[in-house]
Amino acid sequence: MRMLQSMWSKWKAYVYISLLIILITALFSQFGNEFDRVNVALVFLCPVLLSAVNWGIRPSFYSAVVGLLAFDIFFVPPYLNITVADLRYLISFGVYLSVAALTASLAARLKQQLHIAKQREINTTALYELSRQMSAIVDIHSLLNNVSKHVSQSMGLEIAIYLPDDRNHLVLTHRSDVHSDWGQSESEKVVAKLAFEYGDTVGYGTRTLRDTPGHYMPLRTEGRIYGVLALNLKGNQSKIVSEQWRMLEALGGLAASAIARAKLAEEAKIAHLTAESERMRTAILDSVSHELRTPLAAIIGSATGLIEGERLFSSEDRMELLITIRDGALRMNRLVVNLLSMVQLESGMLRLRNHWCDVEDLIGVTLSQVKDFQQHRKMHVVIPDTPPMVLGDEVLLEQMLVNIVSNAIKYSPDYSEITIKVSTDRHCLLFSVSDQGLGLADEEYEKIFDKFYRAAATKQVTGTGLGLAICKGIAELHKGSISGKRNEPQGTVITVTLPVTRQDDMREIPQASRTGDDNDE
């Protein structure tokens, strides 16, 4: 069936031409003698022109010859015979044939040019389309996907793309046909590697290794080769025309620059990350080494003093030195606890042990924790009559509140007032801690929750810049948030917002859980 079809498409031009000439002959042999023979001869030029425009040069030559024969046999005496009585007709035949040949070749060339122009337009559109798509893609895999789809579609062939890995070894990264194993064998890899190292196209259609069934083109921009695009030509060598080779080159160039762009973006990102982690490391080292060395110096100094000059010190002096040692160690302990918490929060190791927590209780524990260093600051607690229960990890929430309140103490003068306020609205519970300290510039309130950030105004107070970052981590673990702003007239307010569910019924004790008649005795 397919054979018939292809034969038909090949020969249909000749069939049409033959039919047309038979028609013309039949028509004019009927009324032919009323026309001049020259006019009939001109009519026979029509099928030549027609086939030249429609089917190209061969069918038009065919129609010229057949037309000439028909004219000779049916319209030139002696009729129904190929011989010509009047030899002058031979000149007419010659003119006829040359006119036919000339028009046929002109028309055919025109047609071919049209065809080429159309093909070029298709190629240009395809290239434009591809470049437009690629400039939007940053991810290297979808990029390769796109390239291979385009190439395999426009060439009608199977392709494979090789890219170098971290150690600059070429590996097969992408195939247009995932079911085929072309491109995986050692011989194909060796040729691809050759193209990669040689920096020039090898394989079929080139001067190097022209016997291989593949065409291996390096994907290069100026000065750098990003990979190799291999084309499987097996059994299709003759189908590729020069236009397609040019198309392939253009596509390869596009792919190379797109890969270059993706690679550069990746490198820029890595460079940025490296710089960021470098900055972080410096900050950690500065902060931690300072925070560790200062108390260590105090501890070592006091302890050696006590050991070496035992008799020199009065018992008050000795006590003083011992207290210095204790305080230094406690300070180091706080740092270690903070560092560990930060690591746990960042690594996602922390599992929340959620329980219902009594807000009043949380604040009570917090106050007892800061009692030792609040000195004469007044703690003012504002709490609703029936404070809600909050679902969370008691230990972490307490650590968060202690951090916030400790900060308030640290950055506010002695004898000032610190207010811890709890309030609720429909969906959340708000803790706010306000102090009357120095306060910060407005733009700094966003940064104070960043790791190792120390506000400019507080440089003279020791600290690591970890406390509030931990608070932020804990608040976010509880699906809440933390923020800071200026307190009026002076100081800072830190507010933690935690989501509350079912807060209405939490204060009620259902009948069922009461032990017996649980009224006041």
């Binding site: 329980h355 927590c357 009594d358 859980s513 649980d518 005795e521």
Partner: protein, 231 residues
């Protein structure tokens, strides 16, 4: 009773901590025995028959939890466990499986000595006295009467039960589970644990001067409560 002179066994793999405990406890007139491994600890516990054990939960050979279980198999000797800060879970498990109290490293020696005293005292006064006196708070267990500053305080049965458990363990930590189990029975559910908080809140409102800064019923975050006698 005078708890001085009591034999205390220290099970800890850190020589520095052992040395520190030994020096301090000896200064407080206790007789100190040491074990550096869990196995040795279990062995010494049966040989020395200590009156109290200080047990580090992070031992190199067998886990502190196993040491605890093996000693509890045959002995009711008070055991105080030592844990690191980041092992909150361990404390609860240890307390619920028979440890009497816990200390989080690093700790102050004064506090450890106080805990040791409390634990030894509870052994000595195993029979509950009918009337407990804590400063201006009096609890008459025989008549179920609670008086604050000489005035009677009205408590619900649940509140009274909680107060009774906490006060008869005064100075010692009582875990949430122990309270729930003793007051609500063994079939309580975890989700009911917030009622416990509500009752504790009520108790504080009735007994504390300032319920946001409790001095009598102190919360041990994540663990439970501790009744602090005011003396």
């Amino acid at each position: 009773m005078n708890e001085n002179g009591a034999r205390i066994l220290i099970i800890d793999d850190e020589p520095q901590i052992r040395k520190l405990l030994k020096v301090t406890l000896k200064a407080h007139q206790y007789a100190v025995q040491e074990a550096a491994t869990g196995e040795d600890g279990v062995l010494q516990a049966s040989l020395v028959r200590p009156e109290l054990i200080v047990l580090d939960l992070g031992l190199p050979d067998i886990s502190g939890m196993e040491v605890l279980a093996r000693i509890r198999d045959w002995s009711n000797v008070p055991i105080i466990v030592l844990t690191a800060k980041d092992r909150e879970e361990d404390k609860i498990v240890a307390l619920d499986s028979g440890a009497d109290d816990y200390m989080t490293k690093p700790f102050s020696m004064g506090e450890l000595v106080a805990r040791i005293r409390v634990a030894l005292r509870h052994v000595a006064t195993s029979a509950i006295e009918p009337i407990l006196q804590f400063g201006n708070l009096t609890i008459d267990l025989a008549q179920r009467i609670v008086e604050l500053n000489g005035e009677r305080v009205k408590l619900t049965p649940t509140e009274y039960d909680l107060l009774k458990i906490l006060s008869s363990n005064s100075g010692k930590v009582v875990t949430q589970r122990q309270l729930l189990q003793q007051v609500w029975g063994s079939n309580h559910s975890e989700s009911e644990s917030h009622y416990l908080r509500i009752y504790i809140g009520h108790l504080r409102k009735k007994l504390e001067e300032d319920s946001t800064q409790p001095k009598l019923i102190v919360t041990e975050p994540g663990i439970g409560y501790r009744f602090r006698s005011r003396d």
